[in-house]
Symmetry: C2
Subunit: 218 residues, 2 copies
Amino acid sequence: MLRYSVSMSLDGYVAGPNQGPKHPLGVRGELLHAWMRELAAWRKMAGLRGGVTNASTKILTEDDGQIGAVIMGRNMFGGGPGPWRTPPWNGWWGEDPPFHLPVFVLTHHPRKPLECQGGTTFHFVTGGTRGALRRAQTAARGRDVAISGGAGTAKQFLAAGLVDEILIHLVPVYLGAGVRLFDDPRLARVALEQHRVVPAPGVTHLTFRVRRHARART
Amino acid sequence: MLRYSVSMSLDGYVAGPNQGPKHPLGVRGELLHAWMRELAAWRKMAGLRGGVTNASTKILTEDDGQIGAVIMGRNMFGGGPGPWRTPPWNGWWGEDPPFHLPVFVLTHHPRKPLECQGGTTFHFVTGGTRGALRRAQTAARGRDVAISGGAGTAKQFLAAGLVDEILIHLVPVYLGAGVRLFDDPRLARVALEQHRVVPAPGVTHLTFRVRRHARART
């Protein structure tokens, strides 16, 4: 099963405007993750102390062990357009990335796999969404595959009808500008079924299953 | 308390595109109300038999007796731009409108009140949002005032910081075009607090309270 989860504002944005080094999630985009940053479970993963335990804790931790591989876009790995630099840069993720899993990075530029500490290996795949999914599913050995972002990559998979489950963390903020998740006309072919709703402080976790994808219609 | 409730698609639309006599809610807009039309409680109000009872029933019926007056825009009453016709048309609502309450219609063109059967009287108010709210609150005699739409009217009240509670019926459909609720930059001044979440078949009912409205900022 291919899964995607993302925090979204009430006005439909998954990142604020003007994303860049100063604002990785765009201006005011950090508001989307406030619910997560206050969790003790998240803070522990980030090496921080303190935090709370609430209904979001289960949402954050229930996938532990269920995910067998991760897919991400090149920007999410840390890239930018054009070929890889020489010597190649190793992304945003440091020496011990938090995935501890095989990660498949979509790119147009071939590159050798990058093995990191802690069990994370970045594989650079040039075969498009379907090729990346095939390789990730093989690596996951029966467990689920998660799309880790960014939004553009997730939208490619959604629009192609390849995503089986979407988990939206709906946050009651208004961003007014930025990157929308649901703005690709190809999504008209994707029918969602509401599967689970979990209210929590400052966020509602909405799980949808993809029920139908009419490939024939456009 | 001024309240507004509306059905919204996952991509943020409260009506589909090309609203008109053929599609009062816009193309595919009727998908937004599918959760309501299947309820026995709604069907009974509409003079229809059958239907189901589920978690949405309470949402639909809990306001009975709590609302003392209704506000709506001129299009919602029935009327396009410009002065009222002579003799004036009596709107979409027939001889016995379903409100059974005083209804305040925002318009730029004065007109005498229109008293209907069943306790509904339409008052035509030319004093803008604040004037309409003042008159509706007086008429409500301590009970709540509900904005009945359309979206443009609701957005005026939201952006002016006059709404106290918003109930969004979030429906997992993709409309792709139409009328958005949250697309007015003045909404950046409105801070919402998640108050209640009720999952139901095919819809999630999200109640937000307006927590802060910084009139000074723009």
